[in-house]
Every structure is written in structure tokens, then in C-alpha cells.
């Protein structure tokens, strides 16, 4: 029997709440009560459920642009998120090229980061899971080349259980397709360097604050979108570029890719 028209709206809201809490495993607190970390960028926070990045969940960060193998921008984006959380961080390395002074410059103090050298995906995943079981941590970062659905579920469950945030920084192998696999992660981001706009190039050849093109490609319960932001500052905060900030430009929409 179809429900009476008057109660359609509450039923829809109820359904949405049900589906969301079914997605998050235990759902003890519900998605509304789950802590989030706002980015401080209005359009970005509005697109995320709860007004910020969900803590105690798994997030994937891909590097856009041609230098996906190094994921240099993605690393800084991850560092900026953790810089704004309290507590130690476990960083599972995939190779020896991470340069710690850069992380310190986005606000992640070296005293807070414990590194472990996990050279292969097969070592990174258990090390991340181990870290995610320890409630004292602010977050766990793992540099991975690829993550299948099952490991992502394990990480997501471990993160939910302890409230520790998990960030996976994807490092592309040479010749690997950039199209991501299905995963249980709460959000998937793509970060790429972006050229500064609105500056006359001939007049000014000096460097300003780097800009990133930040795409929220997938977000459970949120709206995908894309933004041009200024890179993390010394406290790990993103910002809207000054030239764009004055304009009420709507965030450019990104084509939603088929996932799963």
C-alpha cells in the first residue's frame, strides 16, 4: 500500500537515515553524531555530510596529473588533514622518498609522526590495520599502489571501531590505469596541482602559494564536486584563492563517475 502523501517527506528522511546508518557498521552514534573535521572552505564543507571530513573512517586520496607515481600533492593534502587533528600519526611508507620537512611545513610536527617502512602493499595493509586498532592515534596514513575491495572494508571497519582516521595515499605504478577500483572508503579525493589564475604571467614570475584542484569524486551521503583551493598553510588549512573568493562562483561540477 502506498503511504499517504502527507507523510512522504519524513519517510524519505527516515529512509535516508536508515541507509546511512546501515552503511556505517555499528551505527551506534549515527552519522549525524559522528565527529567530522571541517576544512574551513565553505563549498567543500557543504558537500560533505556532517560539514567536514568524517573522522574514524577510511578516505582515499589519489593524485591527479601526470606525476601520480610520486603522489606529492596527495601526501601534502593528507599531512594537512592530520595536522589539524591531535595525537600521534602512523605513516606507512612505500618507499624512501617522503621528505619530512615538507610535512612539517603543512603543520604536521615531526614529533607526532611514527614512520614504518612497509615496502609492499601486502605489508602496508596489516600495518595500517594494526595502527587503526590503537585509539590513541590521530590517524594512519598508508601509501599504496592499489587497494582491493576487501582490504578497504577491513580498514574501514577498523577505523570505525577505534575512531582513528585512515588515509590511503595512492601511488600509481607506471602504466597503471588511473581509474580507481571499488572500495569501502567513505570518500575518494583527487588532488592535482593547478595553475594560478588571474595573474598576468608576464608581469609576475614569482611563486605564490601553490594551488590545488581538489575533486571530491565519491562521498557516501555527500555531493561530489570540484574546487580550486590554495594549498595547506603552516597549520594545514586550505583556503579559497583570494581572486575567486570575492566572486560567488558556484563550485564547478565534476562528472560523477560510475563506481561499483
Amino acid at each position: 500500500m502506498p503511504p499517504p502523501r502527507s507523510s512522504a517527506a519524513p519517510t524519505l528522511a527516515e529512509l535516508r537515515r536508515l541507509t546511512e546508518s546501515a552503511g556505517g557498521a555499528a551505527g551506534a552514534a549515527g552519522p549525524d553524531a559522528a565527529p567530522t573535521l571541517p576544512f574551513g572552505v565553505a563549498g567543500l564543507d557543504a558537500a560533505l555530510p556532517g560539514g567536514g571530513l568524517a573522522l574514524g573512517a577510511l578516505h582515499q586520496i589519489h593524485e591527479g596529473g601526470p606525476r601520480g607515481r610520486y603522489a606529492a600533492t596527495a601526501v601534502l593534502f593528507a599531512g594537512g588533514i592530520l595536522a589539524r587533528l591531535d595525537g600521534p600519526v602512523l605513516w606507512c611508507l612505500h618507499s624512501r622518498d617522503l621528505f619530512a620537512p615538507a610535512l612539517a611545513r603543512v603543520g604536521l610536527h615531526p614529533d607526532r609522526v611514527v614512520y614504518c617502512e612497509t615496502w609492499r602493499d601486502a605489508e602496508v595493509l596489516p600495518a595500517m590495520e594494526e595502527g587503526l586498532r590503537h585509539r590513541g592515534l590521530a590517524g594512519v596514513v598508508g601509501e599504496l599502489t592499489r587497494m582491493a575491495l576487501t582490504p578497504s572494508r577491513r580498514l574501514q571497519l577498523a577505523a570505525e571501531g577505534s575512531g582513528v582516521t585512515a588515509l590511503v595515499v595512492h601511488r600509481l605504478c607506471a602504466g597503471e590505469a588511473a581509474e580507481p577500483e571499488p572500495s569501502a572508503a567513505r570518500t575518494r579525493w583527487r588532488v592535482a596541482p593547478a595553475p594560478p589564475e588571474g595573474i598576468d604571467r608576464r608581469m609576475d614570475r614569482r611563486l605564490g602559494r601553490p594551488r590545488w584542484r581538489l575533486e571530491l569524486q565519491r562521498c557516501r551521503g555527500g555531493a561530489p564536486g570540484g574546487w580550486i583551493v590554495e594549498a595547506c598553510d603552516a597549520q594545514g588549512r586550505l583556503a579559497i584563492p583570494a581572486v575567486l573568493a570575492d566572486r560567488p562562483a558556484a563550485p564547478e561540477r565534476v562528472l560523477r563517475r560510475a563506481v561499483r
Binding site: P88, L90, F99, A104, D111, E117, P195
Partner: protein, 471 residues
């Protein structure tokens, strides 16, 4: 000097005496005739045995199973323990350096079997024999390298068998008939065809608990239960003495007497039974239970005083700040799984050279508070070593206009620099005239790179790419 009946002979000589032509086994009268004024000390076998046992206990820092090989040998079973010291070669180097520092002359060899290592240390060059290489390593050694009695050696030499390699391809039945079973037995042990149980040395004061089983156990689950049980029993013992375990040795006595040992280390003294059991369980897959395990012995071979800390838990939380107290459990687990060298924190070094700006500190070291200078932008990824690029600049000391890296041309839109970095001549002479000019550059697409020229343009400086991404 040792008294053997009426004959007085030399039991051992030091390096100076060896240079004078003296050797063990010489009669005392002969030696005194050769070297007038020779200083003879009566041998004290008992004290020597005690010293050897003390040295053996000290060697337990390397592995749980250390056996005495009197009068002058030690056998260390490093199976499953080498990774804690960074591998076999670093372990051996560390052992050699420490022995040398304490004035002990030692010959070290590492091989698949105790017999092979014995022969190599005494009659060969020592060093490390790769797995499966025992036969090749022993072939050139004299037959005495098989731990044979002097009669057996003489009997072999009488028929011209002087090298172990010659024995290996002789028909076994004939050897047994002619020389008895001992030679074949020793040969088989040295080559690993015959097992060789070791009697592990035990320090008397080490906290230790043991479990004996009525029926041999072997299943993985039951071993996990055994580990949990042993830890639960060890903890009250540690508590009573006010100690915390820094290192645990778990020895499984197998039915066939081939003991299996695992060792774990903790970053901080611990008395948490569950934590210790979890660490040990991490290494359980390395244990081969064979036909079953009869007895399990858990010993805290390295302990440190540990006061009651549980009550002050809240207080440490406040003092330690962001360094949550339970980080030790996580770090221990990772240390056990990955090895000691692979879990660390990074700390700043006051060096202008980017390669030297970072040093490793233990993961649980107290917070240092130091950060790299905030006004120097640095790349997120540092290429080691820097990769050569082709770059072109308009005028000397100006940032390049473009560069070619891995066959890709990058047009530079904006740049900053140079930042002059000078070599540290006090570290290495070769760096005295090292001068790099670093440029931060941004391509048309907004990508940031970190380039440097290793000398001024006038001096034909070449360009290198050192980093990607920037904060």
C-alpha cells in the same frame, strides 16, 4: 700452563707468546728454554668454564639458544633472531666488534649447522656460509674440522684422507667398516643430515616460567593458548620483582630435541600479559612444531625496573600530551613484525644539505620539539639520488626557462631562487667546493619542482631535479 700428571704443558698462549713461537701443547720446560723469563700462570679450568658461561649468557643478547662448547667455544642458534639485529652479516659484525672491544679474541662463523660453523671457525676462514653451502664450505678443510678425536684424525691421515671433501664422496659403508661410526656421524651432523640438539644455557636469575605437556602439542591454536598461559604466569613473577620485560625468549622443546625458539623485544619495559602474548603470537608462524612440542619455556632474558605505573595512567596522559601512552603497544607490534630498523620517527638536523636534514630517532623517544626552519619551502618527495635534467636559462643565475626530465619537457612559468647551499667541508673533504643553487619552479600546469645547478653557469654547472611537490 696445565698440569697433566707429571708433565707440565702449555694450555694456552697469548698473542705475544705466539709471536715468540710458543703454542699450546708444548711442554713447560721446552717453552722456558725457548723464552727465558717466560711468565707462566697455572691454568684454572674451573674459572675458565665460568668465564665461558658468563660470555654465553651475554651472547643471549643475540639469540635465545646459546650452548656451551667447552673448553673454548660457544654455539649461538640465531634462527629467527637475526632480523632483530638487521640480518646475519650485521649481527656477526656487531658480535665481532663487541668481543674485540672487551679484549676477547674470537673467530666467528655462521652456517646452517653447528658442526659446519665449528669447523669453519677453527680451521677455516670463518664468515657466513649461505644456506645449503655447508658441503662446499667444508670440503677444503682438514678432517679435524669435523670435531673428531685425535685418534680418528690420525687414522684418516694414515690412509691419505686429509680433507673433508675427500670423505664426502667415499662409500659410506666402507668408511663405517674401516673407521667406526663416529666419522660418518660427525660428517652427517656437519652437513645437516643428522639433527644436532643444543643444550641451551640458562641464566639463574632470569624470570622464567615453563609448561610441560602430557601429550605433545603442535596445532597453531594450542600454541597460542600456551603463549597466553605462559605470559599470564610470567607477569606475576615480574611484578613481584618490580621488573618489566624488554626481551622475551620462548623456547619450545620438541619431541626430537630440536628446540625451536622465538624472541621478541619491546621498546619499553612491559608487564602487560596480553600485549606480550600478542607480540609472541606474531612470531609463532616461524615455529615448526615437527612431531610435537613437549615443553615450552618463557624467559624474560632482558628486564628493566618497572615501577607501578597503572595507577598514574591518567597523569602520564596529561604530561605526555600528544604522545599517548599506549603507543608503545603499537610500536612493539610493528617492531616485532618489521624489525627494529624499520620503525622510527624523523627529527631535524641542522644541515643545509637536504639529504642530511633528517635523522632517525627511536619511535618512542621523548618529544624533541625541534622543527625544520619554517621559511624554507621544501618538496614533499625528495629524489635520492637527484636525477640529471636538461635545463636552459636565459642569463646566468636566472631560473631556467624549461627543463627536460625523463624525455618530458616542462615549460617553467614561475620560479623562485636561487637558494645557495654550500657543502659541509667538515663532514667530507670532497664537499669543500660543493655549491648548489636551488630553484623552486612551477610549470604552466601548476606543478612544482625543485631543481638545482651544481655549479655556477660559468663553471659549466649541470642541472638536477631533486624534489617534487611543494608545501
Amino acid at each position: 700452563m696445565a698440569q697433566d700428571g707429571a708433565r707440565r704443558g702449555l694450555a694456552g698462549v697469548d698473542a705475544a707468546a705466539r709471536r715468540l713461537g710458543l703454542s699450546p701443547g708444548m711442554s713447560a720446560a721446552h717453552a722456558q728454554a725457548l723464552v727465558p723469563g717466560l711468565h707462566l700462570v697455572p691454568a684454572d679450568p674451573e674459572a675458565e668454564a665460568q668465564a665461558l658461561a658468563r660470555l654465553g649468557l651475554w651472547c643471549q643478547r643475540y639469540a635465545p639458544i646459546v650452548a656451551l662448547d667447552p673448553p673454548d667455544g660457544l654455539v649461538i642458534d640465531i634462527t629467527g633472531a637475526a632480523h632483530l639485529h638487521g640480518g646475519e652479516a650485521p649481527l656477526l659484525a656487531d658480535l665481532a666488534a663487541r668481543l674485540e672491544r672487551s679484549g676477547i679474541t674470537a673467530r666467528l662463523a655462521l652456517a646452517d649447522t653447528p658442526g659446519c660453523a665449528w669447523g669453519l671457525a677453527r680451521f677455516g676462514a670463518g664468515g657466513i656460509v649461505p644456506p645449503g653451502g655447508a658441503a662446499d664450505a667444508l670440503a677444503a678443510l682438514p678432517v679435524a674440522g669435523l670435531r673428531l678425536g685425535s685418534e680418528a684424525v690420525r687414522a684418516l691421515q694414515d690412509v691419505g684422507l686429509t680433507r673433508i671433501g675427500q670423505l664426502a664422496d667415499k662409500p659410506r659403508a666402507a668408511l663405517r667398516l674401516r673407521f667406526g661410526p663416529e666419522i660418518l656421524f660427525r660428517l652427517d651432523r656437519a652437513l645437516g643430515r643428522e639433527p644436532e640438539p643444543l643444550t641451551a644455557l640458562a641464566a639463574p636469575e632470569t624470570p622464567r616460567v615453563a609448561l610441560r605437556f602430557a601429550e605433545p602439542v603442535g596445532a597453531r591454536e594450542s600454541l597460542e593458548g600456551v603463549v597466553a598461559d605462559l605470559c599470564a604466569r610470567l607477569v606475576p613473577e615480574l611484578e613481584r620483582r618490580g621488573l618489566g620485560a624488554r626481551r622475551l625468549d620462548l623456547v619450545f622443546a620438541r619431541v626430537d630435541r630440536l628446540d625451536q625458539a622465538i624472541r621478541i623485544g619491546t621498546a619499553r619495559p612491559s608487564r602487560d600479559a596480553r600485549h606480550l602474548a600478542r607480540l609472541l603470537a606474531e612470531r609463532l608462524p616461524l615455529v615448526d612444531p615437527g612431531f610435537g612440542i613437549e615443553e615450552a619455556v618463557l624467559a624474560a632474558s632482558r628486564v628493566e625496573p618497572l615501577a607501578e605505573r597503572q595507577i598514574s595512567h591518567g597523569a602520564t596522559h596529561l604530561v605526555a600530551g600528544p604522545q599517548a601512552p599506549d603507543l608503545a603497544a603499537l610500536v612493539d607490534t610493528l617492531l616485532v613484525r618489521l624489525g627494529a630498523a624499520r620503525v622510527y620517527r624523523l627529527a631535524p638536523v641542522e644541515s643545509d644539505l637536504p639529504e642530511r636534514a633528517v635523522r632517525r630517532v627511536p619511535a618512542l623517544a621523548a618529544p624533541l620539539g625541534a622543527v625544520w626552519p619554517a621559511d624554507l619551502p621544501r618538496p614533499a618527495r625528495l629524489l635520492a639520488p637527484p636525477e640529471p635534467v636538461m635545463a636552459m636559462a636565459e642569463i646566468p643565475d636566472a631560473p631556467p626557462l624549461f627543463f627536460v626530465w625523463r624525455n618530458t619537457r616542462h615549460q617553467i612559468a614561475r620560479a623562485d631562487g636561487p637558494e645557495r647551499v654550500l657543502g659541509e667541508w667538515w663532514v667530507a673533504d670532497a664537499e669543500a667546493d660543493l655549491a648548489r643553487d636551488y630553484y623552486r619552479v612551477e610549470t604552466e600546469a601548476g606543478e612544482r619542482f625543485w631543481l638545482f645547478r651544481d655549479a655556477p653557469m660559468a663553471a659549466n654547472g649541470r642541472w638536477w631535479l631533486h624534489g617534487l611537490g611543494e608545501a
